[in-house]
Amino acid sequence: MKKKRRDLEEAAIRAFFSACGVLAVLALAGIFLTLLVTAVPAFREIKPAEFLLSKTWDPTSPEKAEYGILSMVMSTLMVTGGAMLLAVPIGIAVAAYLSDVAHWRVREILKPVVEILAGIPSVVIGFLGLVLVGPALAKVFHTGNGLNAVNGSVLLAIMALPTIISISEDSLNAVPRAISEASLALGGSRWQTLLRVKLPAGLSGVIAATMLGMGRAIGETMTVLMATGNARAFPHGLLDSVRTMTSGIAIELGEVPYYTTHYYALFAIGLVLFVITFAVNLVADVVLRRYQEREQ
């Protein structure tokens, strides 16, 4: 009798946790489907080819509304690319410093300090871009207000650094000691060992770190919205003001009437964004897992 009740209780608890697990995943999977369903009506009026390849985004034009996202995609690529050019070498150098140069006591202090950088909200970074970094860059490059792609790149690089540093450092630490000791025993210096043995051995982790940092930079909204000027024109250089996909959505969704082509088109941009970041994260994930499995 007592056992039966206990079995029932066990089954109920199991069912509860399973339901939570399934619910969580369903809710999350729902995001993709919901975006898809809301984005599709946009293409009743917009040709998919025009959407992806036209440079003109002018949904409120009185003559002919145009929905081309190429300028926004280019802006996102430019800002993200610039950010990675800065963040990847610096991030790897810091990771190498923490794993191979710093005394362990120094490392234990510096690692949480770097984590503070990850804790600063993006709207604060954007604000600093507006009042501190942008004006400084404007002086260096002799441009008007400094609200351009370079400013966005610098800020996104700063935001991507903690991710890149922490995962790269993990991967450098995971290189088996025997490998680096062999290099030292053959007369290699610590620098040579780092450069020619440890970095190549930890390369997959470094690549995954870069991809994760990139995913974060592509999807970042507030920083680029506040610090890159948001000009709608197709950008031709890093000193141009840019409007990324994320800021495009953020600027227009507040003003657009519900259930119009313009409204659906904004969700279509969201869908493109979702697919790009999901793909980037997936690649990072696969690289990272494969490499962790090999270690074990």
């Binding site: 209780e9 066990e10 608890i13 199991r14 946790f17 399973s18 697990g21 619910l23 969580a24 995943v25 999350l28 999977a29 729902g30 995001i31 975006l35 809301t38 070498p89 610096i90 150098a93 810091v94 410093y97 923490l98 191979d100 140069v101 300090v113 770097v114 984590e115 503070i116 950088l117 804790g119 600063i120 909200p121 993006s122 709207v123 604060v124 604000f127 600093l128 009042v131 501190l132 700063i158 540093i165 210096s189 620098w191 040579q192 780092l194 450069l195 994760l212 995913g215 974060r216 909204t221 507030m222 919205l225 506040m226 959505i249 969704l253 507040g254 964004l273 979702f274 970041t277 999901f278």
Partner: protein, 286 residues
């Protein structure tokens, strides 16, 4: 001999470069915190923290924004914490290792990388429109809750992973059921880690702006929200407004700095709280 000296020189230069990179990152962090601290510190007063904005937000304080951020984070926690922890318990303790479980984990990990503005879009469709919650604290909190969910699940599962299998086997061998095992021999040791990860997720959610832009945050409200279906002011959104949308931007810059300082203090304070909490709970166990 010559080559050995050169090798030493190259190494010294190389390490110098690595140190410089570390120094650069620390300098940037210090510059950011110093700038916000110095210029924001001047704006902070009891009045700034306890009063509503006045005269078209050129004077007064940020009290409604603090209350709004608190309320919305509370809703976030109510959705994300129990559901996230339970989902993690399911994934780690109950789910059999199968292709499906691996797929579930993979999607959860990847969803934590989905841009926050995409969660905002989702919140507009699901909570604001379909569930007819309108732009409200509830809609914004649930949107942030969904965004936080993958983080809390991942962090909680990491905490469960650190509990040795022998703890479970010990209880099982004495005839305990699955739930008894989890309740007595797994959760007490895993909860500190789970809580820490969860609070870190909540801190990140409290500082987010993009998901609440269109789900409930308001430019300016003369009153505090009376119910969860009201719109609200929030610290991050208030900072965005004061920094870019205000009609007298230069005049309100000190207030924007003050808001930024309060927001940073709140988020970093929560982060530190999480670490202290873990330390405390760990010590109690011994």
């Amino acid at each position: 001999m010559k080559t050995a000296a050169r090798k030493g020189l190259v190494q010294a230069l190389g390490f110098l470069g690595l140190r410089a990179a570390m120094g650069l990152v620390l300098a940037v962090l210090a510059l950011f915190l110093y700038d916000i601290g110095r210029k924001g510190g001047g704006a902070i007063s009891w009045e700034f923290l306890s009063q509503a904005p006045r005269r078209g937000m050129t004077e007064g304080g940020i009290f409604p924004a603090i209350v709004g951020t608190f309320l919305v984070t509370l809703i976030t926690a109510v959705l994300a914490v129990p559901l996230g922890m339970s989902a993690a318990i399911y994934l780690h303790e109950y789910a059999a290792p199968s292709r499906l479980t691996r797929l579930l984990r993979l999607s959860i990990r990847n969803l934590s990388g989905v841009p926050s503005i995409v969660y905002g879009l989702f919140g507009v469709i699901l909570f604001v429109n379909l569930m007819r919650l309108g732009t409200s604290i509830l809609a914004a909190g649930l949107t942030l809750g969904l965004m936080t969910l993958p983080w809390t699940i991942t962090a909680s599962e990491e905490a469960l992973k650190t509990i040795p299998l022998s703890y479970r086997e010990g209880a099982m061998a004495l005839g305990a059921t699955k739930w008894q095992t989890i309740r007595t021999n797994v959760l007490p040791y895993a909860v500190p880690g789970m809580l820490t990860g969860t609070v870190l997720g909540l801190a990140r959610a409290a500082g987010e702006t993009a998901p609440i832009l269109f789900t409930g945050a308001a430019f300016y409200l003369p009153f505090l929200p009376k119910s969860l279906s009201d719109q609200f002011m929030a610290l991050p959104y208030h900072l965005y407004i004061m920094a870019t949308q205000h009609h007298a931007i230069q005049q309100v810059r000190p207030l924007a700095y003050g808001t930024a300082l309060v927001l940073i203090a709140l988020v970093l304070g929560l982060n530190m709280g999480a670490v202290v909490l873990r330390y405390r709970l760990r010590r109690k166990q011994r």
